[in-house]
């Protein structure tokens, strides 16, 4: 659905996005992670035809970004929830949506249906005649999402949709994104909330001007830092157990009192022989835990590179 190849954006001598190559599949929730100034918003703006690219190519639904013949089709294909919600504060929630419905040439009936549908889905129908300026941050964010969906776009770009929201409002937004996923919408999610990305994204890309990594959250976690198995014994690790373990091809084996730790790639396959070896050497296993490096570990490691 979204393809970029060597996409680059320079502001004079500053490179904001450098040779970005990625693809986002139809119906995928794609997380775009990176620190402030990493080029995430710039990428979204290029993909939404808001700013020009310096070089490279990008397409959405087969339509080419930068091709004047395609820009209208692209804009009808996409919806944007910008980092600043950008609502007309002196308009009611209903009028905010209705205005966008008119821009997208929805008929009166379609507009009424869609306004009602999205305001109800996001719990704002009772507040439809209230000025958007009086809304809480969470309500504004929901209204901005409804606005971006009013013309039923295939692709939704969301720039930090849960930033500055309280946990409850964040959860509502996340749940709504998952609901959109069920409806097969393609969602391009800019965020630096790693927990959020891990929970709702099918794949994530880590970006810091250039692309640092791309894959499922699980792939990224294991590819960079790997996972560790931590085995607890009922007594201190003794010489027979230690000697037996040293004969196994374990990576980064470390012993700390009654705890044995080693790197593992496939815990399901690799842990059984280790436990068996410990037991045969007279050890009594109390617990086995597989500890993964978190997406946060991966993210920080990649950004420090």
């Amino acid at each position: 659905m979204i393809e970029t190849e060597n996409l680059t954006k320079k502001f004079w001598d500053l490179t904001a996005v450098d040779n970005l190559t990625l693809h986002v599949d139809d119906g995928e929730v794609f997380g775009f992670l990176g620190p402030n100034g990493a080029g995430k918003t710039t990428t979204i703006r290029i993909l939404c035809c808001l700013i020009s690219k310096t070089s490279g190519t990008a397409t959405i639904g087969g339509y080419e970004i930068g091709n004047k013949a395609d820009w209208l089709k692209i804009r009808k294909t996409i919806g944007l929830v910008p980092d600043n919600v950008g609502l007309s504060e002196n308009l009611t929630a209903y009028d905010n949506l209705d205005f966008y419905g008119k821009i997208y040439d929805l008929s009166d009936t379609q507009r009424k249906e869609n306004n009602k549908r999205f305001l109800e889905m996001l719990g704002l129908w009772d507040k439809r005649n209230v000025l958007a300026g009086t809304f809480s941050k969470g309500m504004k964010q929901k209204l901005a999402i409804a606005r971006a969906l009013i013309h039923d776009p295939q692709v939704l770009f969301m720039d930090e949709p849960t930033a500055n929201l309280d946990p409850e409002a964040s959860k509502t937004v996340r749940d709504f994104i998952l609901q959109l996923k069920k409806e097969k919408k393609t969602i391009f999610l800019n965020t630096h909330n790693l927990d959020e990305a891990q929970r709702i994204c099918d794949r994530v890309a880590i970006m810091n001007t250039s692309l640092r990594a791309i894959g499922t959250p699980q792939d990224l976690e294991s590819s960079v830092s790997g996972r560790k198995t931590v085995i607890g014994l009922e007594q201190q690790v003794n010489e027979p157990v230690l000697g037996a373990l040293k004969k196994l091809p374990l990576k980064n084996l470390s012993i700390n009192g009654d705890t044995i730790t080693f790197d593992v790639e496939d815990p399901d396959k690799e842990n059984s022989p280790v436990v068996e070896t410990i037991v045969l050497a007279g050890g009594h296993v109390r617990s086995i835990n597989v500890v993964g490096s978190t997406l946060e570990d991966t993210y920080l490691k990649l950004l420090r590179k």
Binding site: F11, L50, I51, G86, S88, D95, I103
Partner: protein
């Protein structure tokens, strides 16, 4: 450029203006002041008094000069509207989602212009009617005829006023792109009134006479300024600049 799309933008702005006190007060106050004040001034200072201004030979020039205030008013009123219209979007950061829609820059700009021009024209034409009726009521006994309507005021209202309003709106759009709050936009916008005030003072000091031909020449000059400002404003209203430079 699709006029229907520009109209959607303008219609939304009309709805917003209803709720912004500064905007509708600027639409109402200045026209009311002009339309009521000048007949009252004329009544008390010229006609009832003995200042010599009420002499039938002098009065038409004075009335033409007074009429020119309708143009100054017309240029003043949209300053508040256009400034709010553009700077308001900037403050609310509502331009980014708007720019991501299928609207072109020209359609957005035209919508903004329509939303500033139409209320101004309506308010100023209403003010002009009150002004003409008031002046006629005050000067009929002196002149022996109703001075308004005449070709002068027709030229002023139908030719000069619209081009002056457009000039003011375009100037406001340009100013608004360089400032971050409505008050600053208004303050800088006032500069567009100086040439018009200069014309008014020139007429009061008899350097020029505001007859039909002079009004047409002034209109032509302002139209040329409009064209120049239009090109300037389209250069200013570039989505890339709006998103990356407007803070």
């Amino acid at each position: 450029m699709r006029l229907s799309k520009a109209w959607i933008v303008a219609a939304r702005d009309f709805k917003i203006f209803r709720r912004v006190k500064n905007v509708w007060s600027s639409i109402i106050i200045f026209p009311v002041v002009i339309s009521v004040l000048f007949p009252v001034i004329l009544e008390y200072l010229a006609v009832r008094g003995s200042h010599g201004l009420a002499a039938p030979g002098v009065l038409p020039n004075l009335l033409n000069s007074f009429s020119f205030f309708l143009v100054i008013g017309a240029a003043n009123v949209p300053l508040g509207i256009a400034s709010y219209s553009v700077v308001g979007e900037k403050v609310e950061k509502s331009l980014e989602p708007l720019l991501a829609t299928p609207l072109t820059d020209g359609e957005i700009l035209l919508g903004k212009a329509i939303s500033a021009v139409i209320p101004t024209l309506v308010a100023m034409y209403a003010a002009a009617v009150v002004f003409m009726v008031g002046i006629d009521g005050v000067t009929f006994n002196t002149l022996g005829y109703y001075y308004f309507p005449n070709w002068n005021i027709a030229t002023l209202l139908l030719v000069l006023m619209p081009v002056a309003i457009v000039m003011s709106v375009l100037f406001s759009v340009i100013v608004s792109s360089r400032v971050n709050d409505v008050r600053s936009a208004n303050s800088f916008g006032i500069f567009i009134l100086f040439p018009l005030l200069g014309i008014y003072l020139s007429s009061e000091t008899s350097i020029i006479t505001l007859d039909v031909s002079t009004l047409l020449i002034i209109s032509g000059a302002i139209l040329a300024v409009d064209v120049a400002l239009f090109f300037l404003s389209t250069k200013t209203f570039r989505r890339e600049e709006i998103l990356t430079k407007w803070k």
